[in-house]
């Protein structure tokens, strides 16, 4: 293999591919990055066997002189380089032309300005097979929207490896309506978004960690093509192909969890409530279930917390709207704060059915919300 390209372009691509590469592994080849050059361009790949990322850099047309637009191919072929060192080295190069060529199966020479380096890798033949995007596309989505769906739901997944399904995000679509659900059994997020085409697919569960890495790789403007193949999901953009295994198992039925009618609701200023909660958490985090008590009434919303060792705190807010019966309940302050933050609205509506039933946070304006953040209270004996 022999190619040349611009150093910042290559560094950016290598950094992306490195997202999937483990720093340590029982399979040493996985700590390396695969470079493959052919008539289509250069592909940089990394995988930890759970996820994989393949970054594509196109071939420069003969007429173009701006080296930042792609690569020049002198000799097609493959190479494997130690990923972290390769990335670190590229990032420390000034903006210049980098030339890579392999001398034998395991050695890659890097030349850039006055820099000469030889990187010892592995035989490219030993690299695991990487997935290819199938001929069908299950749905298309704007990267910006996908990223927002991931970011505002991932907080609610479980971290307990004994409930593996709850460590993932549930994706399903019906007639072009995409639903994303996350829950750790104490709280639940349900986000919905309209897709461009009226697609439907049954529920699939994607590991939260994979989606975190995908989110880092996404660029707001691009369109993402998504396809499900066997136990894998693939995301394709013009720049990269990302794959992840799906979680295998039955996601719990959440269809009847979100109440459909609420006798009581209150609307509050989200910033005001967020700031008050931050202060309440200082005390609440010291008690068993990080309990904050809520007193919800027409003329006030009172938050309070008690810690046997630290003392107590009380905050009062003025509701912007109120309807129904006054209500007292208790919940985990941290859960409430995260739900509030991820509602991302200036005015948040808290809808309740009773002191020991789930309550939901939605953006203040809408009644039929496309983002529901549900929290289960704490029972006090």
């Amino acid at each position: 293999m022999e190619i040349s390209t611009e150093s910042t372009l290559l560094a950016g691509a290598a950094q992306l591919a490195n997202l999937a590469i483990p720093s340590r592994s029982t399979m040493p080849t996985l700590t390396a990055m695969l470079l493959a050059a052919d008539q289509n361009g250069l592909t940089l790949s990394g995988t930890d066997l759970d996820i994989s990322i393949q970054i594509h850099l196109p071939l420069l047309p003969q007429t173009v002189t701006d080296e930042r637009a792609g690569i020049r191919l002198y000799q097609p072929g493959k190479a494997m380089v130690p990923a972290q060192t390769f990335v670190d080295l590229l990032r420390r190069l000034p903006a210049t032309i980098v030339r890579l060529h392999t001398s034998d199966n395991e050695t890659t020479h890097l030349q850039a300005g006055r820099t000469q380096a030889q990187l010892r890798g592995f035989d490219p033949q030993s690299y695991p097979a990487l997935p290819t995007f199938p001929s069908h596309v299950d749905f298309q989505i704007n990267a910006d929207l996908l990223s927002s769906l991931i970011r505002h739901s991932i907080y609610a997944v479980a971290h307990d490896e004994l409930r593996p399904m709850l460590t993932g995000l549930y994706f399903a679509a019906k007639d072009g309506q995409l639903t994303v659900i996350a829950t750790d059994s104490h709280r639940l997020v349900r986000l919905t978004a309209a897709l461009d085409t009226p697609v439907s697919f049954p529920g699939l569960v994607l590991p939260a960690r994979s989606l975190q890495e995908l989110d880092r790789a996404l660029d707001a403007q691009e369109q993402v093509e998504v396809a499900f193949v066997h136990n894998q999901v693939l995301f394709q953009t013009p720049r990269f192909l990302f794959s992840s295994r799906l979680l295998d198992g039955q996601y719990p039925d959440t269809s009847r969890i979100v109440p459909t009618a609420y006798p009581t609701y209150v609307v509050v200023d989200a910033n005001e409530m967020g700031a008050a909660l931050e202060r309440v958490i200082l005390i609440a985090r010291e008690n068993t279930n990080q309990v904050v008590r809520l007193h919800i009434a027409p003329e006030q919303l009172r938050l309070s917390a008690v810690s046997p060792t630290l003392g107590q705190v009380e905050e009062e807010l003025l509701p912007l709207q109120f309807e129904g019966q006054p209500l007292d309940l208790a919940c985990n302050a941290h859960y409430l704060a995260e739900a509030l933050r991820n509602t991302t609205a200036e005015e948040v509506r808290i809808s309740l059915t009773g002191p020991e039933s789930p309550f939901v946070l939605t953006a203040g304006e809408v009644t039929q919300a496309d983002a529901v953040h549900l929290v289960l209270p704490v029972r006090i004996y």
Partner: protein, 419 residues
């Protein structure tokens, strides 16, 4: 000015002595000052099986080579005429409580330390205690007269020294040894490093890495290298102990303080190799631990599992801190199994222990979308009541009918041995 003298009294071959004392055929010949007048008797976990473990042996049995924790079969090879009796745990506990009361009647401050040990303290010189040796002898004679149990007493300027001196009293005729304040340090410094109580493997490090032969050598070390090697807490403690300093008080209420955690342990009748069998035992112990935690109106978030391997040698203790508080075995059991699967190497298992700590009052409960927490709570409260009223075996898990189950055996026992 009067100072305080701290003492530790330690019963000799406690279980075995009670067995001998309660048998008229041996009682008449016994003399306090000569333990050769005792028969060679052992208390063994399960006399019906040769795999039982020796829990206690009289000095005469020990002279024949028998040791505690040895298997009965092995002991019988060494001494075929050994008298073997099964344990009577309830009796030992009753005697222990009565002995503690006798000690309390003699000394102003007493702290029960184990079933057969107690710390005590008294002011000296004082009108009541003009002579510490005489006071200790009074205790020793009373324990012999009332219970026909021999004891050993060590006295010194603090609790830790009392423990060390008690061990030294073994070589002392009469079994009573007192080091007055003035000479205690010099006496301590003459002892080998191994005589420092409570060090475990740290004694080896002191010998091999610091080249200390005697406690005096340790005392001569500056505190910094000790803190560097053993950490700030242990480094400081080692330095203080070696200099004969220990500030811990005799705490008469030590047995009354709230529990920091609960754990239950059982020794198995044979080595268990089958995961399913071990799992049954873990669940039964967890049920018991959770019951005690519920009765204290607490919940815990750190679970521990300990396995002891064949011949009671080797094994592990591992803990897992959870993201939630619980006292419900159904929630904790998968976590205990995860500990088992992560750390058990498949060796034969002879003892299992399950514990729950990091406790907090069970005043709040996070509700769950997929668990009926309130129904679970009511169910557990109901089964607790049934167990209390009709006994533990009146309502059992079906898994307690499986071969590995220890539950029905265990309810007949105290501390793992027959009541």
């Amino acid at each position: 000015m009067s100072q305080w003298v701290y003492g530790l009294v330690d019963m000799q071959s406690f279980y075995a002595s009670i067995e001998v004392a309660s048998r008229p055929e041996y009682a008449l010949n016994r003399r306090e000052e000569d333990d050769r007048t005792d028969p060679p008797l052992v208390v063994s976990g399960d006399p019906a099986r040769r795999s039982g473990v020796i829990l206690a042996a009289t000095p005469e049995a020990k002279r024949l080579g028998v040791q505690n924790a040895m298997r009965l079969g092995e002991a019988l090879q060494l001494a075929p005429h050994l008298i073997v009796v099964r344990p009577h745990m309830r009796l030992y506990l009753e005697v222990s409580v009565r002995i503690q009361r006798v000690i309390q009647s003699i000394f102003p401050l007493v702290e029960p330390f184990s079933v057969d040990e107690a710390f005590f303290a008294f002011p000296y010189p004082s009108a009541l205690f003009p002579d510490p040796i005489a006071a200790a002898r009074r205790l020793k004679e009373t324990l012999w007269d009332v219970f026909r149990v021999r004891c050993r007493i060590g006295m010194g300027p603090n609790k830790w020294m009392a423990k060390v001196i008690n061990n030294q009293a073994k070589q002392h005729p009469g079994g009573i040894l007192w080091w007055p304040q003035e000479e205690a340090r010099a006496q301590l410094h003459r002892l080998p490093v191994e005589a420092m109580w409570g060090l475990r493997k740290r004694a080896e490090v002191l010998k091999n890495e610091f080249h200390c032969q005697t406690i005096g050598d340790v005392a001569a070390l500056p505190v910094h290298p000790l803190r560097h090697r053993f950490g700030p807490a242990w480094g400081t403690i080692l330095h203080r102990w070696a200099n004969g300093e220990d500030g811990s008080p005799v705490d008469a209420r030590s047995f009354d303080v709230p529990h920091k955690g609960y754990s239950n342990r059982t020794t198995l009748p044979r080595d268990f190799f089958d995961r399913e069998e071990i799992a049954v035992v873990i669940l039964e112990l967890l049920d018991e631990v959770c019951y005690r935690v519920r009765r204290a109106n607490q919940q815990g978030r750190r679970l521990s599992l300990s396995l002891t391997y064949e011949r009671l040698q080797g094994g592990f203790l591992k803990t897992k801190t959870l993201s939630f508080y619980s006292n419900d075995p159904d929630e904790l059991y998968p976590q205990a199994l995860a500990l088992l699967d992560r750390w058990w190497e498949g060796c034969g298992v002879r003892a299992v222990s399950v514990g729950l700590d990091r406790l907090a009052p069970a005043q709040t409960q996070q509700l769950s979308l997929f668990r009926h927490t309130e129904q679970r709570r009511r169910l557990l409260a109901t089964t607790d009541t049934i167990h209390e009223r009709y006994g533990e075996t009146s309502l059992m898990r079906a898994s307690s009918l499986l071969p590995g189950s220890q539950l029905r055996d265990r309810t007949l026992r105290i501390g793992g041995h027959s009541a």
